[in-house]
Amino acid sequence: MSLSAYVPILALFALATAFTLFSVGISQIVGPKRYNRAKLEAYECGIEPSPEPVGGGRFPVKFYLTAMLFIIFDIEIIFLYPWAVTFADLGLFGFVEMLLFIGTVFIAYAYVWRRGGLDWD
């Protein structure tokens, strides 16, 4: 395999670097700078990292709920990858089967949504 096959990847790298530099730079120059307490806190999703609670502390139970939902919906992806790779060979049959599969997952999603599994409070 010649190196030319990697040219698109290099181009993507270049594009990504350029976009990052551009957006960070432009927001430094033109963005307004108004600070408040919330903005100065460490960026963490979830619970407050400080002051550190004694003994590591306990997480609110909601985190477990969200994590469990995440696992279930996340793991379904491992069937989508092999399907996507062989999509052309599987044809319409594979497509319909995958629609059924996603539909089943969606039913679970509708249940979680209606029964308040996605509400934080």
Partner: protein
């Protein structure tokens, strides 16, 4: 690398998990040991897939992963509902049911 060693590794991991289930007392740790056993099974599956030269084993590993995830969710839900009442995840404290 000789693939047979991976079968041995899988067997060792499985044994560690099984022994862990038998000697540990915290439900969450027990549960992690069971996950270790499942993953040992996965390792064995992909190793045999390589040895046999068929892809079936890798596909089976996918199924095991998905089932394991579903098991995690159900198991954690049950453990949590007990924990919220008792404030303890030790299986020794779950002792209402006996002779």
């Amino acid at each position: 690398m000789e693939p047979g060693y991976y079968v041995v590794l899988a067997a060792v991991l499985f044994t560690i998990g099984a022994v862990g289930v038998l000697i540990r007392r915290n439900a969450i740790v027990l549960f992690m040991c069971i996950e270790l056993m499942l993953n040992a099974g996965n390792l064995a599956l992909v190793t045999f897939s390589r040895i046999n030269g068929t892809l079936d084993g890798q596909i089976m590993a996918f199924f095991v992963m998905v089932v394991a995830a579903a098991e995690v969710v159900i198991g954690l839900a049950i453990i949590m509902s007990i924990f919220r009442t008792r404030r303890s995840a030790s299986v020794d404290d779950a002792n209402l049911l006996k002779y």
